[in-house]
């Protein structure tokens, strides 16, 4: 596979503590891939490894044919991968618009930046209404929109979303899910969707992986996994 992302048997640890063991995962161009698992399973660590925040001890990560295993985050962003991190991590003492501008930090073409910002505001009209407001004063749902919008500003070809539904009311979860689908379809961006909310993730994705204690336990199409006995018992509450 030349396009997309290929993770090949990576091990990741935090100091002496092992977090991922032999994780392999593929994302094809324009695909939505879900990564589900319970708290502490290693979802965030997988995304951190891709971004270069927590590089693997072993194994390789390739994106569009380039080895990105040891690249620092700015270089990964430059190649076309961005992350909307767990807990949103918006810059609280900056306005919504400044947060978006930071998302385009590596872009120099101001016309292009303005155009991208317009598209982000079209996906999230709430952000347009609040563009001058400090990000720290936004509601949780609005901060989530801002984190996703900021990640779109670099015009990525692969977007990593870490628990975008966390802490949101059910109706907001629906909304965000719908927007994720639109972004994937209209921008042609591949998406890795990390979720504890397996319900939403399995409905949105084409393929999914289940991660348990730092290793991939299952994989398949969203429909296959949703039908699997194990997944239903462990992640869908049925």
């Amino acid at each position: 596979m030349t396009g997309g992302l290929t993770i090949d048997r990576i091990d990741v640890s935090y100091g002496p503590r092992s977090a991922l063991r032999g994780v392999s995962l593929e994302v094809a161009e324009r695909e939505i891939v879900a990564l589900i698992g319970s708290n502490g399973a290693g979802k965030t660590t997988t995304l951190r490894a891709i971004m270069g925040l927590t590089p693997p001890d072993r194994g390789t990560i390739r994106f569009e044919g380039t080895d990105i295993t040891r690249l620092a985050p700015p270089a990964v962003v430059k190649l076309g991968i961005t992350l909307s991190p767990e807990g949103r991590r918006v810059f609280p003492q900056m306005s919504v618009e400044e947060n978006l501008q930071l998302g385009a930090y590596l872009k120099t073409d101001t016309v292009e930046i303005a155009h991208t910002m317009k598209r982000v505001y079209a996906y999230f009209p709430r952000l347009l209404e609040r563009r001058g407001q400090m990000a720290g004063s936004l509601s949780g749902g609005e901060q989530q929109m801002l984190a996703i919008g900021r990640a779109l500003m670099a015009k990525p070809r692969l977007l990593l979303l870490d628990e975008p539904s966390l802490g949101l009311a059910p109706i907001r979860v629906q909304e965000i899910g719908q927007i994720i689908r639109e972004i994937n379809a209209e921008e042609g961006i591949s998406i890795v969707l990390v979720e504890q909310n397996a319900n939403m993730a399995l409905r949105l994705c084409q393929r999914a992986y289940v991660i348990e204690s730092g290793a991939i336990a299952l994989s398949g199409t969203g429909a296959e996994l949703a039908a699997s006995e194990h997944v239903r018992r462990a992640y869908l509450g049925g």
Partner: protein, 289 residues
């Protein structure tokens, strides 16, 4: 002389000292905010600024505007180099990096002592003459200090608010990892932030050189006061540093005029403690996450 005639002079002196404290505090705060490093050598860059002013302006008689530019260049390059060589290798450990800046302070102070000697050198004013404002008469050189400091603080404010690099520095101060994820090369921001921080101290030193005299030890008091101002104004807040600097400067000036220096110092600390009791995060500070 009656009290009414002293008031405007005390106010003007308060503004001069306050502007200097604000400059010092902003630079100190920038370094702490972005790098989480307490720069104990901050006052030494003020001292270097004073010496640059003394040699270039008083000795070699270059124009004062050029003196400021030379100080900015010299201290900016020195600051970036010190960050690179001394602070960077120790940055992962807060205590080591603080001890490192303490070491830099000792080296710079003793270096100045060795080369320039301990005796204070007086420096002539940059502008002379008097300015009449209504019934009050002010020395033009004091007004010049206030105007110059205001221009520098304003330029710095604009840089932080409007420029791409300024925005990146604020992002690093608020969430270093999130900044990295936007593509900000944090390792490149650090020497830059350190350099700008100490350049602000150097500018304070240049502007104040004619007001106080120049010696290897002139940095100590501004450093101490900057520390107090930063805590008073709120860590990392530029408006807080300006407000805190002016408040401390005014108390110092009015206190010294009407109560004497020792009482003024006590009054100053009393006010700081009272304000921190009411607002623990400082005048404009936000709670640390």
């Amino acid at each position: 002389m009656d009290i009414l005639a002293l008031l405007p002079q005390a106010g003007l002196n308060g503004l001069v000292i306050g502007a200097m404290y604000a400059l010092m505090a902003i630079g100190f705060s920038l370094v702490f905010g972005t790098m989480r490093i307490v720069n104990f050598a901050h006052g030494e860059f003020y001292m270097i600024g004073s010496f640059v002013a003394f040699f270039t302006y008083a000795q070699w008689e270059v124009p004062f505007a050029l003196t400021i530019l030379i100080a900015i260049a010299v201290v900016g390059v020195a600051g970036a180099a010190i960050e690179w060589v001394v602070v960077r290798p120790l940055r992962t450990d807060e205590l080591s990096s603080m001890i490192a800046t303490l070491g830099v302070s000792v080296v710079l102070q003793n270096g100045a002592l060795m080369f320039f000697g301990a005796s204070p050198r007086p420096m002539p004013d940059v502008v002379s003459g008097l300015v009449h404002l209504g019934p009050a008469i002010f020395s033009a050189s004091r007004i010049f200090v206030i105007v110059a400091a205001t221009v520098v603080i304003g330029a710095f404010w604009l840089f932080m608010q409007k420029s791409r690099t300024g925005r990146a520095m604020r992002a690093v101060a608020q969430d270093q990892e999130a900044a990295l994820l936007q593509g900000v090369d944090v390792e490149r921001i650090f020497p830059f932030a350190f350099a700008i921080g100490v350049v602000l101290a150097a500018v304070a030193g240049v502007l104040m050189a004619p007001v106080f005299s120049v010696s290897p030890f002139v940095g100590a008091t501004p450093m101490l006061k900057a520390f107090i101002v930063v805590i008073l104004g709120g860590l990392g807040s530029i408006p807080g540093a300006v407000l805190g600097g002016l408040l401390i400067g005014m108390i110092e000036s009015f206190g010294a005029t009407f109560l004497g220096g020792v009482t003024a110092d006590m009054l100053q600390l009393g006010v700081v403690i009272a304000i921190l009791l009411v607002r623990p995060a400082g005048l404009m500070g936000r709670k640390e996450a």
